[in-house]
Amino acid sequence: MHQFKLAEDPSSSELHVERASVSIGRVQIVQDVSFHAHAGEFVAIIGPSGSGKTTLLKAMTGELSYSGSIRLAGMETGKLSAEYLAQMRGVLPQASQISFPLNVSEVVGLGVIDRRQGRDGRARRIRDALAKVGLHGFEGRSYQELSGGEQQRVQLARVLCQVWEPVADDGNPRWLFLDEPVSSLDIKHQYQIMQLAAGYAAAGGGVVAVMHDLNLTAAFADRILVMKGGKRLSFGGRDEVMQADLLSEAYDFPLALTRSGESDVPLVVPGGGSVR
């Protein structure tokens, strides 16, 4: 069977994307994107709608085929089996519809792929995951009757169940790939979920999240990839990327940065910067 690389091997805790391109049909949607991420970091992908963020994420999670190279823990993701990938990373899609009237605990339970969990362990894992996303006591509710924000959090709980420990038994980190995890949440739950994701990274896991909200990105991301027109516009640490002219260029809209109070987190506001 598969052999995990030893944990000391530095590549085993990295995501390496090198000159990755993705085409759907004949149209090339992502072109020549390179960046790398370490487990233990929260990496945000930002950029205007249609800039290829979701498409790039789908290539990283094994859903779309790509040219170039995308290596997770040193292995080309396009060559890994669904079962193997499922052990090392969880994926929160941008939108999730289910086809039959499952209740919340049944949806979350689909994420418990660890066969060693007994019936009780399973129920406990489901309950804990729901508590983490602020949905304590929702187990018996019908998924289809929840609000969009609640559904999104149920899906996140499902993903958390799948990669519960940020670091696997063999010492290898696990990864969360999240597509706009907080875009339909209210402000309290946005912060709650962002803290949860940042905590996952702080505990040694890897987090790659497509982000819509620049202020949340500034508050939580360690490194940021900026996409525009299917290409990488910039990649770097938070302070490198959170620059008025760079963001203005990315979004084709004048943006400025301010700071509120003693906080060292910049706030992005309209106006001021020049549009190139």
């Binding site: 089996s81 969880g90 499952l102 049944e106 949806v107 689909l110 799948q162």
Partner: protein, 371 residues
């Protein structure tokens, strides 16, 4: 919404905490198994001749397993013949066909992610019927050599191939990026059903009188003429399906999230789809070969069960097998007693009960999603 209030309420009562419907589902399986046994006994007892079934019961396993003819001591020879050569094979065949149709419906609905997918409605049964009709009509002439090799399995096998081709075509036509549109699926099913129906119609010209009568039975569906040979031809195929279907449960559950998300949690989606399609076509083929076009079992049974025990395939699939068997045996008992000494084709009864039910699901679903 009033229609679902009762089972829903029942389910909510039973599941007081934790949203865990499994205890309810397990209890339902036990209940269904008991009811299935009782239904079989009642069906054996009822008919033009009343049979003291309980007295004969201890002797029956021997007949089924060893094919030993002759009445055991102390049993009226007439009763014995009626039960073992007429009613028992019919009940066994009804149970097999009912289980196969219901499970095929449940699997197909999981695969197409659509509660209205059913081998009968989307034309798979019609495709299987064409395969079977080919051998019924041409089995003694053009296809005699194939018939000689395959024996009693020729008709089920041809029905399987006809069903398989139709399922593959449907999947090609009705599914885009893992998502099936209800409208496309149903319309494609109508078109394919009409096409295969027309081809079956052509065979009428090549058929003699006996074959014509046999063909007519396809259109309506009937368990009349059940015998042990038919049981033997269908049982291996349906048996394989019923045994392998539990292994699909996790995959079909994952598929409720969509193909991409199912793959993300480690399900090999392509393999799952291939196996499901094969099993649906095989079970539909075997059922159609021995009983013609009995409709709606595959729609009604899984839908009723989802409303009561929930959509978890781990329980839905075995419960569908049991409830399918129960309903089909009950409908068949009705079919052969309601206008006695004549007989109604059972397909008429399942259609009378099932078609309004289908419309009800359709209207309810349209209310929710606009189709």
């Amino acid at each position: 919404m009033t229609g679902i209030a009762l089972p829903d309420l029942f389910a909510r009562r039973f599941v007081s905490s934790g949203g865990n419907r499994e205890p309810l589902a397990r209890a339902a399986l036990v209940l269904l198994a008991v009811v299935a046994g009782l239904t079989m006994l009642v069906s054996l007892a009822i008919g033009p001749i009343a049979i003291p079934v309980l007295e004969l019961l201890p002797h029956m396993p021997g007949r089924v397993l060893a094919a030993s003819a002759g009445a055991p001591e102390g049993v009226s020879a007439r009763d014995w013949i009626v039960v073992t050569e007429i009613r028992l094979p019919r009940v066994v065949l009804g149970a097999l066909v009912g289980a196969a149709l219901a499970v095929a419906g449940a699997v197909m609905q999981g695969l197409f992610r659509n509660p209205l997918a059913d081998p009968g409605i989307v034309g798979v049964s019609a495709g299987a019927g064409l395969g079977a009709a080919l051998f019924i009509v041409l089995g003694n002439t053009a296809l005699a050599s194939v018939m000689a090799i395959l024996g009693i399995y020729a008709v089920p096998l041809a029905a399987f191939i006809g069903g398989l081709i139709t399922t593959l075509l449907l999947y090609r036509i009705g599914t885009r990026g893992g998502i099936t549109s209800v409208a496309t699926l149903l319309l494609a099913g109508i078109a394919l059903g009409a096409l295969t129906g027309a081809m079956t119609g052509l065979l009428v010209y090549a058929a003699d009188d006996q074959q014509l009568r046999d063909l007519q039975f396809w259109g309506l569906g009937s368990l009349a003429g059940s015998n042990w040979e038919k049981v033997a031809s269908a049982a291996p195929i349906i048996g394989v399906m019923l045994v392998s279907v539990p292994f699909l449960a996790r995959g079909l559950n994952g598929l409720t999230l969509g193909e991409a998300a199912a793959s993300h949690i480690g399900i090999r989606v392509q393999r799952l789809k291939n196996i499901s399609i094969l099993l649906v076509a095989a079970a539909t083929g075997a059922s159609v070969a021995v009983s013609g076009g009995i409709g709606f079992v595959g729609i009604v049974v899984p839908h009723l069960l989802r409303l009561t025990i929930g959509p978890d395939h781990k329980y839905l699939l075995p419960a569908s097998a049991l409830l399918g068997a129960i309903l089909l045996i009950a409908a068949d008992t009705l079919a052969r007693t309601i206008v006695a000494p004549a007989e109604l084709p059972i397909g008429i009864i399942t259609a009378f009960a099932g078609a309004p039910f289908f419309l009800w699901i359709l209207l309810r679903k349209r209310g929710l999603t606009g189709l």
